[in-house]
Symmetry: C2
Subunit: 186 residues, 2 copies
Amino acid sequence: MLREIERAAWDLFAAVGFDRTTVEEISRNAGVSRRTFFRYFRSKEELLSFSVEHFGQRVAQRFAEAPKNRKPLAALEDAILFVTQEEMHDTRQPKEMLGLMFEEPTLRGRFLCALSRWVPVLGKELAKRKAYRGDAARCDLVAALYCTAFDQAHLRWYREGNVDLPTQIRRAFRQLRDTNGPVSSR
Amino acid sequence: MLREIERAAWDLFAAVGFDRTTVEEISRNAGVSRRTFFRYFRSKEELLSFSVEHFGQRVAQRFAEAPKNRKPLAALEDAILFVTQEEMHDTRQPKEMLGLMFEEPTLRGRFLCALSRWVPVLGKELAKRKAYRGDAARCDLVAALYCTAFDQAHLRWYREGNVDLPTQIRRAFRQLRDTNGPVSSR
DNA sequence: TCATAAAATGACACTCTGTGCCATAATCTG
DNA sequence: CAGATTATGGCACAGAGTGTCATTTTATGA
């Protein structure tokens, strides 16, 4: 049921836009009542944060399972790339979804909010690693920076389009690591 | 008028919370009609992004005026700290405002969305600097990273509270620059 | 197979947000 | 002061989201 609603919603969003899609229509297309829609999703917007948060959880899990000898940030990058590739397989219209999340301010906010909820989760995993032990705040910051690079990579992918998403992500992460490099040092 | 509405709104938000405050009440306390409220603000939430976006514009302006011989990232940090200190003076309940923006998911989203709008603005300023010329994407990434560090600094300030905000911002920026340092290198 | 408990769904009424429309009041301009 | 422009208020309406209760579906045990 949950999947049916999600599908119906995304079809409509892609077709006529987020605002012009009413919960009424989504429900009808999914074959349930309006009231039932709100039993599965707290709001129309939650349709979005839903998948984003799920994504974050999977990254955190994959990250937690990484081999111990792998450097923390490399493992985090691995995890993000792995889940991204999985996701690209499952999602019907990844670029359309992303488009909405960049164009519609409300959805953009939702997306970023969901993304920011990864921070403590990933930060906690980072904190387990030897190199980071004992500096929770720093772990959270690093996690947040990776989330930001992740977001920027998606933005580039969405805007430029000729380079695939994993490549953009790798690029952004490389640039993140090089932030303190020769060019931008102060 | 705009200021009256803003004041009335924040007083109510701080008193009873964002959700439990209706536009009806805000308008009444500000001495205008509900309809007029929506002429000044597109939505209840816009009350937030409003100040955040204004903040970002001031940072970008201050950044643009920085002496040319100052290193770009140092100048950006200066600008952010300067505007922050200005803002702390003007704002009535900075911590309460911030609290709402961290606790209420909707507002958190709004805040992050507004914050993310700084990115192209700041990125464009960075691109003017010699060291960054010609790499717009990288400029945007760096700008986004600074915004993230800025956000994390606020989060720490809100959570810990015993350290003042400018100090937290300086700390976060220092950690950002050290991301590639000995501890976290991969 | 059937009765009963539990869970899911639908129907309805209600509050609140946000918007279009038009009338009225305030303000500006000559 | 007259006329034009602009700000405001009032009203009606669509849509989001919620509480409540009746009804249906599903699960469970004899």
